[in-house]
Amino acid sequence: MESSQKQTFWQTIALFHDVGVLEHIVVVGSWAEYLYQESGLIPGFRSSFRTQDFDVLFRNIRLPKKPFDLAAELTRRGYLMMQNAHTGLMKFDKGGELEVEFLVREMGKGQLEPYRHEYLGVTAQGLRYIDILAEYSTVLHVRGYSIHVPRPQAYVLHKLLINEQRSEAKQEKDLGAVRDLLAVMRDIPAEMAAVQELFNELPKKARAKIKNTCEKNSINW
């Protein structure tokens, strides 16, 4: 039987689909790994660890343009809205087992406060380097839904790129995910060639950060 957490995940996907948001978001974080497994995108890959965080990246914070109170709809469907009193950042918890947080790429100089989605009434946390996940994304067709996820190559490189700025516990978790993915991708030459190709497209500074993380943690591809 499917776990209650997975059921809640799929209920959330259904909700995003029903209200016309699904096509405008990318599922990032550990739930993307679950979708890689469910879709069979990387043959033989099994995601080992899933957190309560359901990270949802807006591909473009100005889309969809149709005004809709997503925060109210989530609340109506039993999600508890938790809003940081200082920053205004919203998170939506369902049943104590899944926490939906919206993300967006940090723009320009960046800002301390979260970004407000003009049409959906929710706030999103701005993160540097996250645009790589939206830019290099693919659509998976799972359980009748078309869901955007980062291409595994982008997922791996992004985890390596941001590793230094994560807490020690998260660094380890991320590196575990990278190793699991690379272990399976190594058997597929096209996948590894795509990792290298994407790496070559990244700015010099980003490539240096990735190299540094790989060297420090003995990760080769």
Binding site: G96, S167, A169
Partner: protein, 100 residues
């Protein structure tokens, strides 16, 4: 081990924050269940709840019924969530204590 300990501490803080958020929200939602009383052959909705060990009930106006029912349902969902959060909290507190 320190990495696992830090991860658990991080999770503990997160759960405590979540527990507080649920408690705050529950304080705003009505306790009890909707029951219908048969009076003079007609059904009237009442919100029945416990207060100070006594069972009390309050008439719910027809125009408020849908809203109150939704709130009651939300309360039940949130109570279930709080129970699950508290179970996780108990478990993590034990592990963090043992690991010290």
């Amino acid at each position: 081990m320190p990495v696992i300990h830090d991860a658990l501490k991080e999770e503990l803080e997160r759960l405590m924050e979540k527990e507080q958020a649920y408690k705050n929200q529950l304080a705003l939602l009505p306790k009890g269940r909707i029951h219908h009383k048969l009076i003079g052959g007609k059904k009237y909705p009442y919100l029945t709840y416990r207060e100070g060990g006594k069972v009390k009930s309050r008439y719910v106006k027809p125009e408020e019924l849908e809203h109150v029912m939704a709130q009651v349902e939300q309360r039940q969902q949130h109570e279930k969530a709080l129970k699950s959060i508290r179970a996780d909290l108990r478990m993590i507190r034990k592990v963090v204590k043992v690991g010290k």
